[in-house]
């Protein structure tokens, strides 16, 4: 109404002001996260304020506005809803925007010119340190018997005219410098002054006992049959492929499209950001930390593994079978515990695991099949999701299952006592004397049954 405007607008304005003020004063206050999570409540509060205002005017015989929320108000609501829900989607680490990635604009323009790289062959020691300084392109490194080093390759230069390309070629020679036991390969791609981009592709053969330290981007790194340690620090869009490595592997990536390690004798350490990770036949410890948005697949790991990626955390003593983390699901078979697994919005299937299990999920269904009748302690907690436990029929355990909102389906049979409590249910009881099995869900049903075909 014209005479006395609505108080809702000013109140909303004050609220927004306070939120931004708090954000400005305390840097720890994470405004974006807050907005992403709580914008629906802002709408509710706004609606409540407008409602109270109309009610007060109605009761107080004041003028009633034609609309509780004006047309402009609705526009703002739609704006908030779009921003809020896209912020909510965006702050989930596996969203589509981050998967597209932004390539440097240069790639798309100009013409490609190819130049050969002069062959370089040297005799080095049997166990040299090979260093490849920050380069852009593919590198294929193969270990061979003896103490020979050889390098071949080719350069792809993208530029608008051939003269620029020639100049860029002469500015970026590939150099191999030997200093004591260290062989350094330099591509000098940062030397070009024209608007060209140089991609150097290298084919390198090194002694089997070499140790590799490389850093690069925009290409495939393929290392195989190397007896020493391998270190790689990668920039954008790199694919990393390591096979038959005798030492340990340390990778740091800014945005690797794929990382694959097969048959590594030492430890594997992986940090940074990337997409798919695939580790197989690793004899040493495995440590993964960072954000890997694709599929993380672990197979045949002989030593303890610690994984932290995409708000999922795993600790296991051994993975003789496999562990597969995908967007929204974890699927694992044949793990050796003690196991600790924490995840968000993820359905979890664990088929065959031994020893103790600690499992915490905020949202997701859980399906568990302990392997042997000699089970370990199991503690499962999910905020919203169903829990399905299939225990070996000969197992001994003390069960305590609890759902606050949902049913319990006892297919295990005698020995377990079911009781309902409000909207939830409980299932308790002991079979022989065994470890504690605790299953808790706030919203969801719990099924306990005997696993079939177990020994």
């Amino acid at each position: 109404m014209k005479s006395r405007g609505s108080v809702t607008g000013p109140l909303v304005l004050i609220l927004v002001g306070v939120v931004f003020l708090v954000h400005a004063i305390t840097p720890d206050f994470r405004l974006a996260d807050l907005l992403a999570h709580y914008w629906p409540y802002a709408l509710i509060i706004w609606g409540a304020i407008a409602l109270v205002e109309v009610v007060i005017r109605f009761l107080g015989n004041g003028p009633i506005p034609k609309n509780g929320v004006s047309g402009g108000g609705w526009a703002l609501v739609i704006f908030i809803a779009i921003i809020g829900s896209s912020a909510f989607e965006f702050q989930r680490p596996d969203n589509w925007i981050r998967q597209i990635g932004f390539q440097s604009g240069m790639e798309a323009f100009g013409q490609e010119h190819e130049y050969p790289v002069q062959n370089i062959a040297k005799t080095v020691s049997a166990e040299p340190v090979i260093i490849i300084e920050d380069f852009r392109g593919d590198a294929k490194i193969i270990g061979a018997e003896g103490s020979n080093f050889s390098l071949t390759g080719q350069k792809v230069i993208r530029s608008f005219d051939a003269k620029d390309a020639d100049k860029a070629n002469s500015q970026t020679p590939v150099e191999v410098v030997t200093q004591g036991n260290t062989v350094t390969i330099r591509c000098h791609q940062d030397r070009i002054d024209s608007r060209s981009s140089v991609t150097t592709n290298l084919d390198i053969s090194v002694p089997k006992g070499s140790r590799i330290e490389a850093s690069g981007s925009h290409g495939t790194i393929d290392v195989s049959a190397i007896g020493g340690d391998v270190q790689f620090a990668g920039g954008n869009s790199s694919d990393i492929k390591l096979e038959d490595i005798g030492g340990s592997v340390k990778l740091e990536t800014q945005g690797a499209d794929s990382i694959r390690c097969d048959n590594v004798k030492g430890a594997v350490e992986l940090h940074g950001r990337g997409s798919d990770v695939d580790l197989e036949n690793i004899a040493g410890q495995v440590t993964i930390g960072g954000n890997f948005t694709g599929t993380v697949s672990l197979r045949a790991l002989a030593k303890p593994v610690h994984l932290e990626s995409m708000r999922t955390q795993l600790d296991a003593r051994q993975v003789p079978g496999y562990f597969r983390l995908e967007r929204g699901s974890v699927d694992a078979k044949n793990l050796i515990g003690p196991l600790k697994l924490t995840a968000h919005s993820t359905d979890i299937t664990l088929d065959g695991f031994t020893e103790a299990l600690d499992l915490d999920v905020d949202r997701g269904d859980v399906e568990l099949r302990p392997e042997h009748s000699a089970m370990g302690r199991i503690a499962v907690h999910t905020h919203s999701g169903d829990i399905d436990l299939a225990v070996p029929s000969a197992a001994h355990f003390a069960l305590s299952a609890n759902t606050e909102n949902g049913d319990i389906d006892n297919q295990f049979g005698d020995g377990l006592k079911e009781s309902s409590e409000g909207r939830g249910a409980k299932l308790e009881g002991s079979v022989g004397s065994g470890p504690d099995v605790n299953l808790v869900t706030q919203h969801g049903s719990i099924t306990v049954k005997k696993s079939s075909g177990d020994v």
Binding site: H37, W39, P40, Y41, A42, L43, I44, I45, W46, G47, A48, I49, A50, L51, V54, V55, F58, I64, P65, K66, N67, G68, V69, S70, G73, W74, V77, A81, G84, S85, F88, S345, R363, S384, H443
Partner: protein
């Protein structure tokens, strides 16, 4: 008096709708029920509000607020 109630009913339609939208999105983000499965509730709320308004509209054709 009745037309005043009708005006009131019309005025609270916006806020009630806003609160409903807020609740549905809160439920969506909590992961309980996605918004694409709950949005018809908005139609129901609008319908109910309109019905209430109509109940209180004065019978003469020109008197009441336009719906």
């Amino acid at each position: 008096m009745n037309s005043r109630v009708a005006l009131f009913a019309q005025a609270i339609r916006g806020p009630v709708l806003l609160i409903t939208v807020g609740i549905l999105f809160a439920i969506h983000q909590a992961g309980v029920l996605p918004f694409y499965r709950t949005w018809p509730l908005l139609l129901i709320v609008v319908g109910v509000m309109k019905l209430i308004e109509r109940l209180y509209v004065p019978q003469s054709p020109q008197g009441g607020p336009k719906l």
